[in-house]
Symmetry: C2
Subunit: 482 residues, 2 copies
């Protein structure tokens, strides 16, 4: 955590600005043949051209058929009783949020937003947290984070919010291409930065939901099952998804990078809250469109299924070392939601753009993780504990350790997202990535040092949030379609 303390000292390359470091790097890495000139070119290209997000996806990304390796003899559907928020609360013998809350208030009263994060006065710390609370409102009004809220309130599985009339007509039959186009427009207008479609792989649907979320008590669960029924239903034991529900619309909403880069300080929570609020509305909006066309729609936030593998299968990105989805446009600096439906849609292709190879070398998330919950090892098939869904080849992390830090710190943490080199402006993610992936995998360490030198490693002060002229929702206009 040295590199991300409050004083804003850079992680490495301290004392040099970006240009100086790039020059030094160009001089120093002559041992790698042909690198300096090419890197110089990449830097020039990067500095000259800052609007490449859309082109990047179109030009560089390749597609694959089976993006996730699964051992079918071992893999079982995951129970949301085992998400870390639930499991860790049982370990503690009280809601882990209770521990978190006590430390939160203690720190707040001292003007802090975490054990070692001095925001300023009590009023300063309060202001940052007030802004976080404000950004949570949309989340609260759309079923919180979704956990344990399956088929409840705005996340109801069979209930139009605005127009029962349109939904009541016999279902409209259109070619799947047309529906896909329409549903993606609904997603974008509903606020999604990225949207993709996949066949609903039931492997990623929770085996059950835990209704008494974050409780130390015995989980009160309902199984989530698929049956040959007309409409979604619920009994005390079961949540029933009709067999006809075969597709998932998966959406990503951007979290503002500059506030996330205050992690593990309280301003980072503003970005997180904003993401949850926006994804809540995106999922209910898309569900409403689908139902109005006569189809079933099951809107989900963190509930009902694992979002990351669905997002990978829908072509939004690749899995990173820290376990989050890495997108070409925003890196892991997104939140995910999804809508399940029986509307016939055209699936997108899963994508590759070098994340696995990059994460093999980088390990920056692991290095900067305060709880050391992120593995520095290789991808494996072995879960670390019950909070992992085993039988999948990936990096397994100990998310109870992660929450342990949150609780101790009285503040959530998104260091892994903040420091990820893919959580960057266009310059980084596009041109260097492009250049390096195409030309020389062994250059990755060079790239990493550059990332530090470019100042991306430094923690932004929490109060900086009040100094910025944000675009609406803190979005980056340079990463939008035009």
């Amino acid at each position: 955590m040295k590199s991300r303390e409050n004083d804003g000292v850079k992680a490495s390359g301290a004392g040099m600005n970006r240009r100086q470091f790039a020059k030094a790097a160009l001089g120093g890495i002559g041992a790698v043949a042909a690198v300096p000139a090419m890197l110089g070119e990449a830097i020039a290209k990067a500095e000259a051209d800052e609007r490449k997000s859309v082109e990047f996806r179109r030009n560089l990304v390749t597609t694959v058929d089976n993006p996730i390796l699964v051992d079918e003899t071992v893999h079982r559907r995951f129970s949301s009783a085992n998400i870390a928020f639930n499991a860790y609360s049982r370990d503690l013998g009280e809601s882990h949020w209770a521990v978190y809350g006590r430390n939160f208030v203690k720190n707040l009263q001292q003007g802090k937003g975490g054990t070692d994060i001095v925001v300023g006065s009590f009023d300063d710390a309060r202001a940052v947290n007030a802004l976080e609370a404000a950004m949570q409102t949309g989340n609260r009004l759309t079923g919180n984070h979704g956990e344990g809220n399956e088929n409840r309130g705005p996340l109801a599985w069979d209930n139009n919010i605005t127009s029962a009339d349109l939904a009541s007509f016999p279902r409209t039959e259109l070619p799947p291409e047309d529906f896909t186009r329409q549903v993606k427009v609904a997603a974008r207008l509903g606020g999604a930065n990225l949207v993709g479609v996949c066949k609903l792989n039931r492997r990623w649907v929770y085996e059950s939901t835990q209704r008494n979320v974050y409780s130390p008590d015995e989980p009160q669960t309902q199984r989530i099952v698929f049956r040959d029924v007309e409409r979604p239903t619920e009994t005390p034991e079961e949540l029933v998804i009709p067999e006809s529900v075969q597709y998932a619309v998966v959406m990503a909403v951007e979290m503002p990078r500059t506030v996330i880069q205050s992690s593990p300080g309280p301003a980072a929570g503003i970005g997180d809250a904003l993401g949850y609020s926006r994804m809540g509305w995106a999922s209910v909006a898309v569900a409403e469109y689908i139902r109005c066309m006569g189809y079933i729609a099951i809107p989900c936030k963190n509930d009902t299924a694992l979002s990351v593998p669905l997002a990978i299968e829908a072509g939004l990105g690749e899995a990173g070392r820290m376990g989050a989805l890495i997108t070409p446009e925003f890196g892991p600096c997104v939140r995910l939601c999804k809508v399940f439906t029986n509307m016939p849609l055209v699936p997108d292709k899963p994508i590759r753009f070098g994340v696995e190879e990059f994460c093999n070398h980088c390990k920056k998330c692991a290095r900067e993780c305060p709880s050391k919950c992120i593995t520095e090892g290789e991808q494996t098939w072995e879960p670390r504990n019950e909070c992992n869904n085993g039988g999948v080849k990936k990096w397994y992390n100990d998310y109870k350790k992660c929450l342990g830090f949150w609780d101790e710190n009285g503040m959530s943490c998104t260091n892994c997202v903040a420091v990820c080199p893919f959580t960057k402006g266009d310059m980084w993610a596009h041109h260097f990535t492009e250049w390096s992936i195409k030309n020389i995998h062994a250059s990755h360490p060079v790239w990493l040092n550059l990332d530090d030198a470019f100042g991306y490693g430094e923690r932004r002060h929490d109060l900086d949030v009040f100094k910025r002229d944000f675009a609406p929702y803190g979005m980056d206009p340079d990463k939008m379609e035009r």
Copy 2:
């Protein structure tokens, strides 16, 4: 309505593209001395430079002290019992929405979105309306349009949604400059495109609310009063705002221009719904921030007070002929919301940028209004009927006629917003406005013809909404802060 029919024929200058018309215009208006060369320059500047929204506000707009002329001997606070939606329903003897609904369904079944608007098949018309319904979800979850929902649900006047803890500390005392900066960041992150502050002029607060909205029956009203009380309260007769509540935070959210330009077809409703959804969340988010700092916050959508004069006083724009707020950035293509508070804030200055002078000449909204509800006359002091708030110098329009067209058409209408020359890309609103206002008021008719020739007069087909690659929420990234 000839010029805005479904076939996409341009309003005038038909058969010429923008450049051709500009050339012809330059040739034809030689009678106005010095115009052609200067206009040519303006066009060149416009075409070369498309990112000027922010600079435009900073450079061209001037400030004024008393933007609204009021005859205090006549002016009375308006009752929401007299908003057209309520008053016209009493005239009809049934909710005007009932009439609207019958015609809506009749048209829908014929693939139409209005009496004369052929969308395509039933399924086509359904899809456009399904998208509109989807965009309404955020509106529905934040107290509908607000009308009659004062102090209800998410629009409650004294109730934190996410964090009662932060609100419970003694109020934080900061210089008004600091609070103003913070509340504006909350507004932007909560999705506002524009935000301003004014002293709360009680003149614009409704004298009463009508609870039985859109009903033909006797209005069930509660007076809205200011009293020396600690917190907002409600009795069966009264909604009580504390005397300490002295400021309004006023916000505008952009409606996507390209869908609004389908008016009076159903795709325009998508933009309207999206605006209401976004403004709902913006107002509750800002209220939450304020309460968490220990102050009172009263979040409002269309309820509680007239939004347009408050927005004028908060410096967001000027009143246009059609009665809507005209902003420098988006013209009238915005929706407005506001939050009242006792948090000490620094008011913004009301602005001028030539709207009144321009509207005097233009009259395009009046010309293209299907119901002819918009006056082609001068500003006056005289209301047209009980739906106007008299005693103010402005253009008075007959909003019952407006709703009459909605009902007959089974579809809402935003023609006045769609055709307004200020509802434009940067090129129009900035460079031509700037040039013309600075140089030659008499050139306004030239300007108008150019506006038509530039194709801004044509109605976009409703199904075009499914052909576009929208930015999130359909926003225009070129009009955002960076």
